[in-house]
Amino acid sequence: MRKIILYLLLIVAFLGFLAKPAYAVVKTSPTASPSASPTFEPTPLPTPVPDLTQKTQETLGPLEKLLEEQKLGPVWPSNPLKHAIRGAVETGVPANTIVLLLLLPLVATIIAAARHLVGLRGFGIFLPAALSVVFVATRPVVGIGLFLIIVTVSTLTRMLLRRLKIKLQYLPRMALILWIVSLSVLGVLFAAPVIRHPDLTNVSIFPILIMALLAEDFIRVQLGKSIKTAINLTTETLILALVSYFFLTLKVVQEFALLNPEWYLLGLLGFDYILGKYVGLRILEIWRFRKLIKA
């Protein structure tokens, strides 16, 4: 339970953090220097600069513009959230944050559906969700790269400890593994001048922290089960996170959630409920029992 709360806090903290680069980028952006203040209307920045690192600014502008263009009816019965969103954005809450928050239940639903309809397990629901948000921040390439480094390093450490017959109690052993994980991520950051990947230099602490915690889960599964199971679960987690990332960044979905929050949220609610009542076979189970079905 504590862990879940921790993840939630991390996600919330992270969402807050996501909003910041919008300002940061505005400051460093050479084209926007005349209007550096973030409280200004975004209208002076509609011409997007095709620079990948300025992604947040790119999505921020159009979303707010969309909100501006939307014509709103009376508040009740069908527009209360639309008015609330409009109000919040006008007082300075970034539309980006609102969209990500709105999309979080979608990500959770996708992960739940992947488990109950398809049969992909992954590490629970919070890890893939957190990882997908990490991917939004770091871009998938860097995210997966970091993730694989962390997982490989922790596995190698575990195997090495076993080979050398260094017997440590569980918590000190975990601490030692996290020590090595932290060092290796630091190593990657130290290598930034050589690698010179812009996404890498922009990496913040939250994605790394989430991934380091994921490494702990990975090792825990390894302890309990076989390496094969651990690799399977990790692969499934990655797939889930990538699919979630895809939906998180999909323009159509973002815009729909922002412009029709009532229908969107009600739809998810209904789908979640139906999903919880589904008792049929999962797709992977149909494959698992295919010989039985044929017989």
């Binding site: 569980y170 089960k225 589904y278 049929g280 189970e285 029992f289 039985l292 079905i293």
Partner: protein, 427 residues
């Protein structure tokens, strides 16, 4: 087979474990020590527990030399057979023991292992756990040829006091002495009626021989089968859970012992038996079952494997006419010859009430349940009994409903359900 007859994870959780298993029951099943405490009050036998370790101090206080030559160290809430060390014998001139995996362990190794268990290295969510030392249960001689360095166990799924499906789990070289299918043990399906193995799976694939050998896995007769089934049902009743997987080991001398309970038994058992669990569970869901003996009787009548395919292969298909002389096994264990009609228009076999009473198969102990039948004649409450008869020399064990047939030509009709492997000549 229809996909809807197979039990998937969604259905297992929502239709069975959620509905029939209490939180209290799950707690008992998750902890081997709790299981031992609850089952210890019943007539079910369990391997003895020599010592429990709750705090690290217990480890130092304990006289390790007092242990017998063979025993098992286990975490109370371990998952998937992890964290278990089984030692088989003491090293004669030296310190320590030899494990079933032929490794040496010293007292220090065991102490360290127990500490790990207490820290929660093998428990769910790494919560602190309790370790214990348990009596070693060796292999029964019936399994000696089939298990690799470990004790095989029998997983029985019990639902509503009826043993629904069973599987023999054989440790392999790969599984390291453990009987868990996920770790590479072999699962062998068992015919509920006879205790004879039918099919086998390894890593989800059908196999005929034990991996690496030429030993057939089909046709193993499990000793004390009825007692094993009854033990499983008694454990389920005592646990207070409706849907349960019971793991039973066969002690060479002391007979069946309950090793552990599982509130969410795996689904692979369906592949080992090539049968759908959901169908069987739904079949027994609403039955009124009196006790363990009654439940086992129902199971044997309902879930007997049809060896029709094998019979076909070995004896050829038998041809029967519409009117046949049939030998019925009475309560006196003697065969009584009566006339029967082979009725392909009926699904179930039906026997005359007076005839059934005469043969002693209408005794309370033989009645499985009563059911309302709808027929051309309207609604009628009929008793359903277990029945064994010989048709054209082939033994058929089945269920039959009891009806008043005194005004009909034969006291027995045999329905399609029991005619697999026969051809009916319509003359």
């Amino acid at each position: 087979m229809k996909a809807s007859l197979i039990l998937g994870l969604n259905a297992r959780t929502q239709l069975f474990t959620y509905r029939y298993n209490s939180l209290q029951g799950k707690k008992i099943a998750d902890s081997k020590l709790q299981t031992a405490r609850v089952l210890g009050k019943t007539e079910v036998t369990l391997p003895k527990i020599y010592k429990k370790f709750k705090n690290p101090e217990d480890i130092e206080k304990f006289d390790w030399e007092s242990l017998p030559n063979s025993f098992a160290v286990k975490p109370s809430r371990g998952l998937g057979g992890e964290g278990i060390i089984v030692v088989k014998k003491k090293i004669k001139d030296g310190e320590g023991w030899i494990t079933t995996q032929r490794e040496r362990v010293t007292v220090d190794d065991l102490k360290f292992h127990v500490l790990d268990i207490l820290e929660g290295a093998f428990s769910m969510r790494n919560e602190p756990d309790v370790a214990f030392i348990q009596e070693y249960v060796g292999r029964h001689k019936a399994f000696k040829k089939y298990a690799y360095r470990g004790t095989p166990d029998i997983r029985i799924i019990v639902f509503n006091k009826v043993p629904v499906m069973a599987m023999l789990r054989l440790p392999t070289k790969e599984s390291g002495g453990r009987a868990n299918l996920h770790q590479g043990a072999v699962g062998v399906g068992i015919d509920i009626a006879t205790g004879i193995t039918t099919k086998a799976i390894w890593h989800g694939e059908q196999i005929v021989y034990k991996p690496g050998t030429g030993k057939k896995l089909r046709g193993i007769k499990i000793p004390n089968w009825t007692l094993i089934l009854e033990t499983a049902v008694k454990a389920q009743i005592a646990s207070g859970m409706g849907y349960l997987g019971v793991d039973i080991v066969l002690h060479p001398e002391k007979g069946p012992m309950v090793l552990e309970l599982n509130a969410q038994p795996g689904l692979q058992i369906q592949l080992a038996n090539m049968g759908g669990l959901k169908k069987r569970l739904e079949r027994v869901e609403d039955l009124e079952v009196r006790d363990a003996e009654h439940g086992v009787k129902i199971a044997k009548a309902l879930f007997a494997a049809r060896f029709a395919d094998r019979v076909k292969a070995e004896e050829g298909i038998k041809t029967v006419g519409v009117w046949e002389e049939v030998k019925i096994l009475g309560a006196d264990k003697k065969k009584h010859t009566i006339k029967a009609k082979i009725d392909t228009g009926a699904w179930k076999t039906s026997i005359d009430r007076d005839m059934a009473r005469q043969l002693g198969i209408l005794d309370k102990s033989n009645v499985l349940w009563t059911k309302i039948y709808k027929s051309a004649l309207g609604k009628e409450v009929r008793k359903v009994v277990s029945l064994t008869f010989y048709l054209a020399g082939t033994r058929v064990s089945t269920i039959a409903n009891v009806a008043n047939r005194s005004y009909l030509r034969t006291p027995l009709i045999i329905g399609r359900k029991d005619l697999k492997g026969f051809l009916v000549k319509a003359e």
